[in-house]
């Protein structure tokens, strides 16, 4: 790779940077599209928005990556990117685990209540029939 094609002091080429920026914009566009079509709840979308905007910032200001790698002592800046990205993804997964746990409780409760209401209804119906 010709060093003149590199972005400032960064180890990322202009080509890669543009690719990353376009990918982030497509990702953010996809999130907005899913919200507009009611397929993604805004509450959940916020997490992905943060994720997308974070990646976009790193792509636009590629020196950020150098700073992060210097501060954290990571020798190879792209590795710093993977550390940050994997860390963010783990947080997103924990966030969804919390939501799944809550929803599991709600579903169990709903199924139980539905069964109990139906059993009650049958008993009332039987009682009415036998009173006639």
């Amino acid at each position: 790779m010709n060093p003149s094609e590199m972005v400032g002091n960064s180890t990322i080429s202009y080509q890669t940077q543009w690719l990353a920026i376009v990918a982030c914009l497509v990702f953010l566009g996809m999130v907005v599209y899913l919200i507009k079509n009611n397929r993604l709840k805004p509450g959940h979308a916020v997490v992905w928005m943060f994720f997308g905007v974070g990646l976009l910032l790193v792509s636009v200001f590629s020196d950020l990556l150098n700073t992060v790698s210097m501060v954290t002592g990571i020798y190879y800046p792209p590795a710093a990117f993977f550390v940050v990205a994997i860390g963010a993804l783990v947080l997103v997964l924990v966030h969804f685990s919390i939501i799944i746990s809550r929803q599991e409780k709600q579903i169990v409760n709903l199924v139980q209540e539905l069964g109990l209401i139906q059993a009650d209804g049958k008993r009332v119906k039987r009682g009415k029939t036998s009173n006639k």
Binding site: E104, V108, V111, Q112, L114, G115, L116, Q118, A119, R123
Partner: protein, 245 residues
């Protein structure tokens, strides 16, 4: 020894969690009714794909048909909700597969009432029992028992027994929050941590009469690893007694 008082069986609601137990349900129900005719029996049909619900309807027993399969924890909690809302003081779990001998219902209930026990467990391992436990299962139960001992300082020999009587103090607590992943050992730890009284009573259990055991060997190994871990993770949660009285 608890003083022997006359016990009122009309205060007892017997919960039969049933998942695909059409083959054994009628026999189990009749055997229970023969022992305790005054007790209310409720079948929790846990989203069975066979005709468990129809068998229950033919028997004329109260049947709660759950629209999807919740597992044993969700079924028992449904039964506890039913018992609580219908004013029963005691609830007893008796499996629908015929493993639990209804002959011991009276003994368990009398211990619960006369001994003021909050959770009475029908145990296979207090006295030498005819019940043959497989090696893997036995090892698993020993590991769970040891974990419960570490966590609560109490020795419960048969911590996976589903033959249990819930007393008036613990029913509202478990209606509010019943462990769903590994209900038997986890509920024991929960109640011990809240300071409730648990007692084991020796019982005999039979082999399954019909249906397929839900626990195969691979699952047993998985359970052996995950139940102790789950109990220890549970210890991180603060248990607060919300009992109103």
């Amino acid at each position: 020894m608890p003083r022997k008082n006359k016990v009122d069986y009309s205060k007892l609601c017997i919960i039969i969690p049933a998942y695909n137990e059409a083959g054994s349900l009628a026999r189990v129900y009749k055997a229970i009714k023969k022992q305790v005719p005054k007790a209310r029996v409720v079948v929790i049909n846990d989203g069975s794909s066979d005709n468990t619900g129809e068998v229950a309807a033919k028997l004329g027993v109260v049947c709660v048909n759950l629209p999807s399969n919740l597992g044993i924890g969700g079924s028992v909690q449904t039964g506890l909700k039913y018992a609580y809302r219908n004013g029963f003081e005691y609830a007893m779990q008796v499996d629908g597969d015929g493993q639990h001998d209804p002959k011991f219902i009276r003994k368990l209930f009398e211990t619960a009432v006369n001994g003021k026990v909050d959770l009475t467990i029908g145990s296979r391992y207090i006295r030498k029992s005819k019940y043959e436990t497989g090696l893997v299962r036995k090892l698993g139960i020993n590991i769970f028992s040891q974990t419960i001992f570490w966590a609560t300082d109490k020795r419960i020999r048969d911590c996976t027994s589903g033959f249990r009587v819930f007393g008036p103090k613990v029913i509202p607590v478990l209606v509010e929050d019943y462990p769903l992943d590994f209900p038997e050992p986890e509920s024991i730890v929960k109640l011990l941590r809240l300071g409730y009284k648990i007692k084991e009573v020796p019982v005999e259990m039979k082999r399954r009469q019909a249906g397929v055991s839900s626990i195969d060997h691979i699952k047993a190994i998985y359970l052996m690893l995950s139940i102790p871990l789950s109990i220890l993770v549970d210890m991180l949660r603060p248990e607060v007694n919300h009992e109103s009285k």
